[in-house]
Point group: C2
Chain length 265, copies 2
């Protein structure tokens, strides 16, 4: 690899700031195992693809103090905090209350949200329960819900979304164009055709020699059920990722040759 190429590519990459995110999943039903979360994996993949680093996820129950504490921990650390769950019409939906408390603002009945719900259920359907979904922390922007109208909202660096996956996904599509994004992480995957334990030391040496990329090692069982390993090289600078990949491949060839020599001897 040409050293100059690498340096200039790095300079370009580092000019783009790193944008980070935390995710707060809210709901007793996830912690009891009754409902299996489908949002963490979706959001993780989505944010990675648009250049936002998901750095931490927390799952907490429907307890206001717990939600507020987790929100405060996450929103002080990351560029954005996404929340899922707890914005429906029933007594156990307390996310809006917790967010308003965390930001120290009143939780008002929002006329924009009321209008959206009226459009959906009519004046007669606009009962006390449904009006809960129109309580929005003062100063928040609404997040469009094309599926069932009841909006999410965005206040400070916190984006509050529904827990139902189809609605969460639609809300994420609605906010994504307005999110700041950083340099995308480039990821390359190499199938080792070796067991993780056969390459651990050598891979550690490659990782040490390439500190500017992250190298992950993921064991899996291949088509015949034999232990195999995927190596994933990730980084913001494509030239450095390519260089590390080349080093990983050279290392794999060496280990394979050594093992073949051992078994031949």
């Amino acid at each position: 690899m040409n050293e100059n190429t690498s340096v200039s590519a790095t300079a370009a990459a580092s000019a783009t700031p790193i944008v980070t995110a935390g995710l707060l999943v809210i709901g007793d039903e996830i912690l009891s195992g009754r409902t299996k979360d489908k949002n963490i994996g979706y959001l993780a993949e989505y944010l990675t693809a648009i250049g936002i680093d998901l750095r931490e996820v927390r799952l907490v129950p429907d307890i206001e103090d717990e939600i507020v504490a987790a929100l405060d921990a996450l929103r002080s650390r990351y560029t954005y905090v996404f929340t899922t769950g707890g914005i429906g019409p029933t007594h156990d939906d307390i996310t809006a209350d917790a967010v308003a408390r965390a930001f120290g603002v009143p939780l008002d009945l929002d006329p924009r949200a009321v209008a959206l719900l009226r459009e959906r259920v009519g004046e007669a359907g606009l009962n006390e329960a449904r009006l809960r979904m129109a309580r929005i922390p003062r100063g928040a922007a609404l997040v469009d819900n094309p599926v069932s109208k009841a909006p999410g909202f965005w206040i400070g660096n916190v984006i509050v979304m529904a827990g139902v996956p189809t609605i969460m996904q639609a809300m994420l599509d609605a906010v994504a164009p307005q999110l700041r994004t950083g340099a995308k992480v480039v990821s390359e995957s190499v199938r080792a055709d070796l067991r993780e334990g056969d390459i651990g030391t050598e891979l550690g040496d490659v990782a040490k020699a390439h500190p500017e990329v992250m190298i992950g090692s993921y064991p899996f069982a291949d088509e015949q059920g034999r232990p195999n390993t995927n190596l994933v090289i990730r980084g913001r600078d494509p030239a450095r990722v390519a260089a590390a990949r080349a080093a990983v491949e050279a290392m794999l060839n060496e280990v394979r040759a050594t093992l073949a020599g051992t078994s031949a001897s």
Copy 2:
């Protein structure tokens, strides 16, 4: 319901202490979305079934400071902390290091663990990488791994397991008989055949009148794609859960009658 039955059942239930747990999921590959976690839902359901309350889950990257901070936060709050991920043979497997640091104990090469690995891969296969998996914080008990031998471990109230779901599940089976468990949570589910927004206020009243149980409301689309709601009543005292269930069903009948009256008028 007979009030006396309820009181004595409660006394019996409250004699069994509540046992809680936190879960720490460790790994860049989950936060990047490359790997979808399958352990949270499994562990949540498993612990609920044996009478342990999962109260919080955190996902953190392969960064030692982050793992230590999350471990310390969770182990001071819950009866048990389970961890998944980061105990393999490669440089990015740093869970044992983090746990040893959190407990302030040395990370020794454990002769018991070495013997297990030797049994699996033979003396020749016992290279530096595989020996990483035999580094166990001093004082920890080993957790059996019937799948691939490399053990998990248990130190203080922290139980360290593999991230690969089949291995994690086997390790959980291995430790479960030794876990303290509390009164099991009894759960009853009622299909409302009403929309969540139609019953939110009335359901809130039932919840207020039955503070000793948790009542959750979970919207779903029925077989015809119409909005419907599952109500889940959870509690440690079966008599109180049954009483709350009866109140929920009475409420649903009333709302259905009212709505039928409205549409007829």
